[in-house]
Amino acid sequence: MTDGWRELYDREYPRLLRALLAIGGDPDAAEDAAQEAFVKAHKQGLATLERPGAWLLVVGTRELLRQRRRRRVEHERWAERGTSETSAFDAVADRVDLLAALQQLPERQRTIVVARYYYGLSYDEIASHFDIKSGTVGATLHQAIEKLRQTQIAGRLARGAMR
C-alpha cells in the first residue's frame, strides 16, 4: 500500500507544487500546502480518491488560500527572480511575464486557469470540483486569458526598453 502512495506522490507532487506556486506565487507556501494536501489525502485513503490529481489540486488550493488568510501576507517573487536571472532571453522573459501576469488576476481566476491549462481539467470537472456554475467556467477562463494577453503588450514594451 505504501508503494501506492509513493507512486501517487512521485506522479502528482511535482505538478501540484508547481500549480500551487503558480497560484500563490510563494514557494514556501506552495510547498506547505502541497504537503498538507498529501497528508489529507493520506488520511482519506487512496481507494477513495477517484481522481487523485484533481482532488489534490482542490485540497492544496484550499490549504494555500487558508494559509494566506492566516498570514495576511503575499509574497511576490516572480519579478525579481525573472529579471535577475533571465532578462536576456525573450522566451524566458515571456514565461516570467506570464507567471507574473497570472499573479495580477483574482485568486479565483488564477486557480481556474491553472486547473484548466496546467491540469487539463474539463469545464465540467472544474465546475464540480471548484464549486462554480459550469456555464461560467468558459467565460471566467476567457476573461482571465484576456487579461493575461493584455499584459503581454506591456511585457513586450518592457523588453524593447531594456534591449
Binding site: R15, T83, D94, Y117, L148
Partner: protein, 515 residues
C-alpha cells in the same frame, strides 16, 4: 490560419502551462514528505480506519465553497476587435458556454470636425481570415444601431425612398502587404452630400479597414468605375489613417526630449483620458513628487518617441505608440505586486487605446525600511501610449504639482506644429473668452488676435507660455474680450512671431460667434 479567439486562448493557455512546468521549484522527495514521515510514525492502520469516513469527507471537500468568491465580473468587452461572442470554446472539451447571438465589433464613427472615433457596433464577427474580419467590421459599421455619444454614421444605408430599393455590396479583392483593397457595389451611390460628410465617410472607411492588424493602407474602389467617388471626393490611391485624419501636419516631431535639471521624483499617479481637456485630445499625465529638489519649477529628464509597434494579430496593440521614458522617476512597487509584467490602463477611445507602464531597468532596488517583502523601488520608468493613429502631439511640464503631460491631437484647425489651442472651443459664443493651450514658441511669446468676417483685426494681445525656446511645450492662459461693436462670426488666431522676420508662425484658428 489560427485566428479564432478560442484557439488564441488555447495557445496562451499552453504557453502558461509550459511556464508553470518550467518554473524552478525545490521538490521534496517522497521519503521526506510529511505524509511519509507521518505514516512511518503512525503506522499503516491510520488510513484504513479513516477510510471509513472517506465518502463523507470527500463530499465535504468537494462540495464546500473552496475559494473566496467575489461576484463574477460582468462580461468584459474582450478586445476592441474581438468579441464576447467569439469566445465560445469551440476547441475545448466540456459544455459550451452560451454564445451571445451578436458580437461587439470595434469600428469607427464620424465626429464633427474631428478625426473619427472608435466604438463598438453589434454584428457578426467572422474571425476566419483578415478579409472576412475587415468585411465583418464594415458590415457592423453600416448596420450600427446605437452610436457613441457625439458621433454620426454617414456610412449607414440611405433611408428607403418611395422610388424603390437600393442594393449594396462589398468585397475585398485583395490584401497585398499592408494594403487592403475593398470594392463597393452601390446601386444608389454613397448617399452623402458635401465635403464634410464625404470626408467623414472616407475617414470611417479608411479607419475601419485599417483596423485589421498589418493593414495600414486602404484602397476604396467602386465596382465598374476607375475610381471611387464619394460625392465630389475622388479616391484614386491607397490611403492611410494619417492621410485622412484632417490635421494639416503629420505627427511631428518624431521625438521630444529634455535633459531636465537633475530632478529625481517619485511617481505619484498616472492617468490617461480622451476628450476631457479638449475635443479630440488624448492626454496622458504622470504626476511626480520631487525627492531631491526644492526648486519651485523642477524639470524631470525624459524622452518621448513616436514609433510603430510591432503589431501582433490583435489590434489592441495599436497602430502607433508613444514611448515616454523617465530615467530619474521612481516607481515604488507595493509588496505582493509584480511591476515587471503589466500595469496597464485601458482608455478605449480614439486616439488612446491604452497605456502600459514598464521598468527601464531590470532590477528593483529593495525599498528601505522593514516589511518591504517583494516590493521595491524601480528607478527609471517608461510608459507606452498606444494609439490609433499618428496625429500631432506634444509634451509639456506643469507645476504644482509637478506633472509631465503628453497631449495627442486636439481640434485639427486649432493644432499646428508649435501651437495647440484647447480653449475656446470652436463655435463658442461668449464675448469674453479664455485662451489656453500649449505652445513651443521663441522666448515663450504667444500672440493672439481676433478678426471679423472682413478680416479686420478687432482685438489682439500677447501672453507668455510657461516655457519657451525648448523642446518642452509651455502652457499658456489669457483672457480676450471681443469689443462690443463687433458681432457675428469672428476668428481667433493664435501664433508666435518669428524672431527672424516677425512673421506669424504656428498659426491656428478657432471660429467663434458673438451675439
Amino acid at each position: 490560419m489560427k485566428t479564432d479567439e478560442p484557439q488564441d486562448d488555447e495557445i496562451l493557455g499552453r504557453a502558461l502551462s509550459r511556464a508553470i512546468e518550467t518554473a524552478e521549484v525545490n521538490e521534496t522527495p517522497y521519503e521526506s514528505s510529511r505524509m511519509a514521515v507521518r505514516s512511518v510514525k503512525r503506522g499503516t492502520s491510520f488510513w484504513r480506519v479513516s477510510a471509513l469516513a472517506a465518502s463523507i469527507l470527500i463530499a465535504g471537500a468537494l462540495g464546500s465553497t473552496l475559494l473566496e468568491r467575489p461576484a463574477i465580473d460582468g462580461p468584459v468587452a474582450a478586445s476592441p476587435t474581438a468579441s464576447a461572442g467569439s469566445s465560445s470554446p469551440v476547441t475545448t472539451p466540456g459544455p459550451a458556454v452560451a454564445t451571445p447571438a451578436q458580437d461587439q465589433i470595434w469600428v469607427y464613427f464620424a465626429r464633427d470636425g474631428l478625426p473619427p472615433s472608435g466604438g463598438f457596433a453589434t454584428g457578426t464577427f467572422d474571425d476566419g481570415r483578415p478579409e472576412s474580419r475587415i468585411l465583418s467590421r464594415l458590415n457592423a459599421l453600416r448596420m450600427a444601431k446605437a452610436l457613441p455619444l457625439g458621433t454620426t454614421n454617414p456610412f449607414a444605408p440611405p433611408t428607403p425612398t418611395q422610388s424603390g430599393s437600393s442594393t449594396f455590396g462589398m468585397s475585398i479583392s485583395l490584401i497585398q502587404g499592408d494594403l487592403a483593397t475593398v470594392e463597393f457595389d452601390l446601386s444608389n451611390g454613397w448617399d452623402v452630400r458635401g465635403s464634410a460628410q464625404s470626408l467623414a465617410l472616407l475617414q470611417q472607411l479608411v479607419y475601419t479597414i485599417t483596423e485589421e492588424p498589418g493593414v495600414r493602407r486602404a484602397l476604396i474602389a467602386e465596382k465598374g468605375k476607375p475610381n471611387a467617388v464619394i460625392d465630389q471626393l475622388v479616391i484614386d490611391k491607397p490611403l492611410t489613417r494619417e492621410d485622412v485624419f484632417g490635421y494639416a501636419i503629420a505627427a511631428t516631431p518624431k521625438s521630444i526630449e529634455d535633459a531636465g535639471d537633475g530632478t529625481v521624483a517619485d511617481i505619484v499617479d498616472w492617468r490617461a483620458s480622451v476628450h476631457e481637456v479638449a475635443p479630440g485630445l488624448g492626454r496622458f499625465v504622470v504626476e511626480l513628487k520631487p525627492t531631491n529638489s526644492t526648486e519651485p519649477r523642477p524639470y524631470p529628464k525624459f524622452t518621448a518617441t513616436l514609433e510603430r509597434p510591432t503589431q501582433e494579430k490583435r489590434t489592441d496593440d495599436g497602430k502607433w505608440v508613444i514611448r515616454v521614458e523617465l530615467p530619474d522617476a521612481i516607481w515604488q512597487q507595493a509588496q505582493g505586486e509584480a511591476f515587471h509584467c503589466c500595469p496597464l490602463k485601458l482608455v478605449g477611445k480614439t486616439p488612446i487605446r491604452q497605456v502600459a507602464a514598464y521598468p527601464l531597468g531590470a532590477n528593483p532596488t529593495p525599498s528601505p525600511g522593514p516589511g518591504a517583502l517583494g516590493g521595491g523601488a524601480y528607478r527609471g520608468v517608461g510608459f507606452g501610449i498606444i494609439l490609433d493613429d499618428a496625429r500631432p502631439w506634444r509634451v509639456g511640464v506643469l507645476h504644482n504639482p509637478l506633472r509631465l503631460v503628453v497631449d495627442v491631437g486636439g481640434t485639427p484647425q486649432a493644432t499646428s506644429d508649435s501651437v495647440a489651442v484647447y480653449s475656446p472651443r470652436a463655435g463658442e459664443t461668449s464675448r469674453t473668452v479664455t485662451i489656453s493651450g500649449f505652445a513651443r514658441a521663441f522666448e515663450a511669446n504667444v500672440a493672439w488676435r481676433i478678426k471679423d468676417t472682413a478680416g479686420r483685426e478687432v482685438a489682439k494681445g500677447f501672453t507668455t507660455a510657461s516655457i519657451g525656446t525648448s523642446p518642452v511645450w509651455g502652457s499658456f492662459q489669457t483672457t480676450a474680450t471681443i469689443p462690443a461693436t463687433v458681432s457675428g462670426n469672428v476668428t481667433l488666431e493664435v501664433f508666435w512671431p518669428s524672431p527672424r522676420d516677425g512673421t506669424d508662425t504656428g498659426l491656428v484658428q478657432v471660429p467663434l460667434t458673438v451675439r
